[in-house]
């Protein structure tokens, strides 16, 4: 149950990072990984933005689980985003638990974990921290910022916050704001965590406990939303788990129960409960139109970036209708926009899975952007 900090690669941003809440963080840590080399013109940097439970280990083994990076299908040699052409950067988001400043970080003033003393952050705050990292790495302008789900929100936010620093944006399976159903599912997860007595009003690290059961339930509820009903039916249906007939008890009779329980338990070994609270909150607060006078197109007026918007037909969490709304705003703002709805049976999780059509689209899009350099 101990999430000992591995030796992440970390930089501390100089000075103070101002936040949307009005609060600030002094010299916040940003943990990141890179792949490939920055070219002489400094024109080949690609920033990958990760999703809610992702991290900087996009294409290198995860130090806690030992598993391959979470997006090796998209990032790596021979992939659309490749160290052969690109300098690839992926940073753990602000509020995360893999080395970037977050609720598990030690507050220098108290010597104790920040816990709920960590400020509530936003997607724009995450992007601010990434921009600070790029400053330190000497990267003025990105070839592309690429992300799925919450990563896609960050990618869109990049174009709004730093219009001149992005040549292109790839936003996959995402939305420009969080709706009532999104907030509702997140709230269930937060309540599950906060209902766990081992959460200790957020002070579990200092008090030597871990709200593992609450965090596992939160993960289970969220995980259902990442899959499609058809995908679940195909993968599990009503098949039984290591038995020939119903057990007439509360053990996992069905494979889908066993699978969900495993998802919950394995998540707890690599993720921090307070980070889950802060990051889901940041997503719920995301509303790019509201931050631009209520008109989404206003968010994209200042940039000259090219956009690639992708959705999946079986994604009911961030359905194609959400992508269409983004595309409409982009085109209204005069932005060059490529929009593709991909077919996949796997729901929201499709962007993490094998999807050759997605790879072809991203590859073609990035090569076209590079050809214009």
């Amino acid at each position: 149950m101990n999430l000992a900090p591995p030796p992440h690669r970390v930089l501390r941003l100089p000075g103070v990072l101002s936040l949307d809440s009005g609060g600030s963080l002094a010299a916040p840590a940003v943990a990141f990984e890179t792949l490939g080399e920055l070219n002489a013109r400094r024109s080949n940097a690609v920033l990958i933005a990760h999703a809610l439970t992702g991290d900087q280990y996009v294409a290198s083994p995860h130090p806690l689980t030992g598993k391959p990076g979470w997006w090796t299908r998209m990032v790596g040699k021979g992939r659309p985003i490749t160290p052969e052409r690109h300098f690839i950067i992926c940073a753990n988001v602000l509020g995360g638990c893999m080395g970037s400043e977050g609720p598990a970080s030690i507050d220098p003033e108290t010597g104790r974990p920040r816990a709920l003393g960590f400020p509530v952050i936003t997607i724009a705050d995450m992007v601010r921290a990434q921009a600070g990292l790029l400053d330190m790495l000497g990267i003025e302008r990105l070839l592309a910022v690429v992300g799925g789900s919450m990563g896609g929100m960050q990618a869109l936010q990049w174009a709004a916050s730093y219009p001149d620093r992005v040549r292109s944006v790839v936003a996959i399976a995402t939305a420009a704001s969080h709706g009532a159903q999104h907030i509702a599912f997140h709230e269930v997860g937060r309540q599950a965590i906060m209902a766990d007595p081992d959460w200790r009003r957020g002070n579990y690290l200092a008090e030597g406990t871990r709200p593992a059961r609450g965090l596992a339930v939160a993960r289970m509820a969220a995980h259902i939303t990442y899959l499609s009903e058809a995908g679940l039916t195909e993968k599990f249906g009503r098949r039984l788990q290591e038995r020939d007939q119903l057990g007439f008890g509360f053990d996992a009779d069905f494979q889908v129960e066993s699978y969900l329980r495993h998802q919950g338990i394995s998540f707890v070994s690599r993720f921090d409960a307070n980070s889950y609270l802060f990051i889901t909150r940041a997503m719920d607060y995301f509303d790019l139109a509201a931050a631009h006078g209520g008109r989404l197109s206003q968010a994209f007026m200042a940039t000259r970036a090219r956009f690639c918007i992708l959705s999946f037909d079986s994604d009911w969490l961030y359905p194609t209708a959400e992508s269409r709304r983004i595309v409409q705003a982009l085109v209204a703002a005069g932005r060059h926009t490529s929009f593709v709805e991909l077919q996949s049976p796997h729901g929201h999780d499709s962007f993490l899975l094998d999807c050759p059509a997605m790879n072809r689209v991203v590859d073609g899009f990035l090569r076209a952007v590079e050809a214009e350099l």
Copy 2:
């Protein structure tokens, strides 16, 4: 937090009730309410089957909450099911917590609540208990059995278990089996309850605790599935709760959060956590085709009942496709079947809400059945 047993109207079934699990219950209690009078021919009895969290108070005030019955829009004077023409019976399901034999009942052998010693029951077991009640009331044949959601499952099961005892079946917003996604959502709820230390491995009643936080989380997760995304958006959107701007904290910023928390808390005051475990399990075990050699139509071969199958276009929990599957099997079995997909923005919960079209359809269907008597 005390669920003191109100003076429910209860009969104990004579003898022993055999269960699908192979277990049995001696003289199980069945709590019920009736409305109207049985006519001389005993031909006007209508059985209402309730849903997961429903009870026998279909059209009379709830003894714990004081609220009106849960289906006063469908049942009552001037309604499609009316004491002016019908003898209306609604029984608390086996496994329930409003007076019927369930995990909160006292085990006569130990003098303590049955808790997890209660046998895992099925939808067919619930129907067996209802048939036993009808025997005691001297009702050989029902004019109709009517139910929505889990009530619809019972209605379908009635036709399969007691083909000669039902003249007609009205099954609304339901399915003939529980799929992987249904099981997954239920499993999240069960895990939330069992993760609560106050659950005490099911013995919370004897030990003087209540897994209120776990049960509230379970209800919150389930409640999202009862509503449509569009309905949530229309009702709440991103509107804030009693504030002008984001609070940058974990209080309920958004109305939808406040609403969900209220749903969770108020549920705990009227429902028993172990009943939630047992009844969700019964639903997950429901697979009418599997119980009939893998062919759903076989379940409807023996009956001569007329069927009315209703679905709602915004119901994503038991979508119209599930009803179509039932209708296909019914027609293949040669049953007279009326099938209507109703328009409603309110998702699965539509059957409990004001829906004049649903009332007109049920009224017309029942009058036609009565005209054939």
